[in-house]
Subunit: 329 residues, 2 copies
């Protein structure tokens, strides 16, 4: 295992310390590194909290800040955070207008956020993200997995919270954006979890895993490596079948790297995906390209398509100031 670390037991703590040092203008670390929170809270605003296993950086801590999340709870690599982390985060950032959890659909995350919600007496205050169209049920889920579409949900709901939308409206908005968002990914190589020390899965030099999960979980099929155009057609075929959009529909296109993929290749995928979406009669109104929802150093990418209306697009464009995404400020 080749990693820039000191020890597998200290990776998360040192990474969080480095993150907090690098972005001290935006975030601050909670006691015992239980959560990362916005340095400057906005009183009277609904507090948005997310979290999950680490190893997907910049998700979620990189999305804490003005116009997105109020706090993120990092678990160990590919392990859920514990309910006391969400409890501590909620107590730190609740400005009196309520707390909304945004949770990717994994059994561990669901259970622990649910326990935290019960401890906080929160009702109907969780947006569940399950945008991965690759598989129904999986290694760690009942139902579909939550993957890169989480970024889009967190951003649009975050902007709505920033403008003052109330809890019930935000919950409904998050559910609606999740419904309008679909993703699917492909892996060329495995990642190696530091504590494991060996690759999560074996894959041949000429193979790829289509529909892979962000922890290296199996997808739909293990096949020979295809071209960028073929991969984009495969992923978008599944995505567009799921979304069933009408011609002319405005969409956001997110081409997301899994951590070990050069930006040059991601833009080749953008080229391929844009041609397919245009040919399908859709209008790509916004692009986001980069490694945002990662699987450590896994090579590969996912494509996310999110159908937006004028209000959602205005929320997407609203001022945003986080470590990983910034515009308008």
């Amino acid at each position: 295992m080749k990693k820039l670390i000191n020890h597998v037991d200290t990776v998360l703590a040192e990474s969080l310390d480095g993150f907090a040092a690098a972005h001290a203008d935006i975030v601050t670390l909670g006691a015992e590194r239980q959560f990362v929170r916005r340095r400057h809270l906005k009183p009277g605003k609904v507090a948005l909290i997310s979290g999950g296993g680490s190893g997907h950086e910049p998700l979620h801590a990189g999305f804490v800040g003005h116009g997105m999340l109020d706090a993120a709870c990092p678990g160990q690599v590919f392990n859920s955070p514990t309910p006391d982390q969400m409890l501590a985060a909620a107590q730190a950032v609740d400005g009196g207008a309520g707390v909304l959890f945004i949770v990717k659909n994994y059994a561990g995350d669901m259970m622990n956020f649910q326990l935290a919600a019960e401890m906080l007496d929160l009702e109907n205050a969780t947006v569940l993200v399950n945008d991965d169209v690759a598989v129904e049920n999986s290694t760690y889920t009942t139902g579909r997995r939550g993957v890169a579409g989480t970024l889009i949900v967190e951003r649009i709901v975050g902007a709505a919270a920033e403008r003052g939308d109330k809890l019930a409206a935000l919950k409904a908005l998050g559910d609606a954006v999740n419904q309008a968002t679909a993703s699917m990914g492909v892996a060329l190589t495995s990642c190696t979890v530091p504590a494991a020390g060996t690759p999560t899965f074996q894959i041949g030099d000429d193979e790829m895993e289509v529909g892979v999960g962000i922890h290296g979980e199996p997808g739909r099929k293990r096949v020979k490596l295809a071209t960028a155009d073929e991969i984009a057609a495969d992923l978008l075929g599944a995505i567009l079948k799921d979304l069933a959009l009408k011609p002319g529909q405005p969409v956001i296109l997110l081409v997301n790297g899994f951590g070990g993929t050069p930006l040059m290749e991601l833009y080749v995928m953008v080229c391929a995906a844009t041609k397919i979406l245009t040919a399908a009669g859709l209008t790509v109104v916004r692009h986001l390209t980069g490694s945002y929802v990662t699987s450590l150093e896994m090579a590969g990418c996912s494509i996310t398509v999110s159908a937006v209306n004028a209000d959602w697009l205005a929320l997407w464009d609203a001022p945003l100031h986080t470590a990983a995404l910034r515009w308008g400020v």
Copy 2:
């Protein structure tokens, strides 16, 4: 070779097309993809042009936009752009106040930018970046190599050009920022150039290349993999010896991934580097962390330290709107 591509001969063209599609609000492609230029030029402003081999994305095209470059000329992967590219770019973006080239110190880049300068009758209009303290002379250079510090030179000079500084002042500023900037990197794995199809160099499962160049060129030594703290101490030892800064000096710290390194590890390096710089009496006034000057999918990172005065820091902070870096707008 596992890459998200269609064909090795079309990687660059399709990547540029994807880039231009994704960032159509900021950039436009020149004819025959000779250059990427700002969509909205500013009349009367000195035009800044950079370029070099591709495979280092987002450098340089990702830095084209308000507050940074006016144009970037992409060569084939790890190959210099040709003089006609710089000529075409200069003709497209020269707003009447002159043209300044910012060039990384590689023999091919130097020669081709020099030829373009002669064709354009430009004199004393090139800032040469040679921030890599790893080695004097190298595979592709006489003298030191230009690496991630190029980003800092392009940013600070770009902001000064945006505020209206004249050509001679910008040339002097660029030279001064380059002098105040030092970098060194370490590679854990090799990259694979698409047209070559095999790794650029062989390295053992327990080895790292200290002082590696951004094309995988040899550095100072091939040694056993060390801890993040040891690597940071090694790199910063060389950097700080070169810069010979006084205690209290404000610095920008850039921890740069080479393309295949998870963000989590880069923040571990930030944690390590920040401790060392603070212990050395320096003040880290700004952080930049991410994969900005890459070597395709090479795993590893570089550290850059740039000493700044109040004026340079204000320029660093000034509004910036490029594909890869954005703040204040």
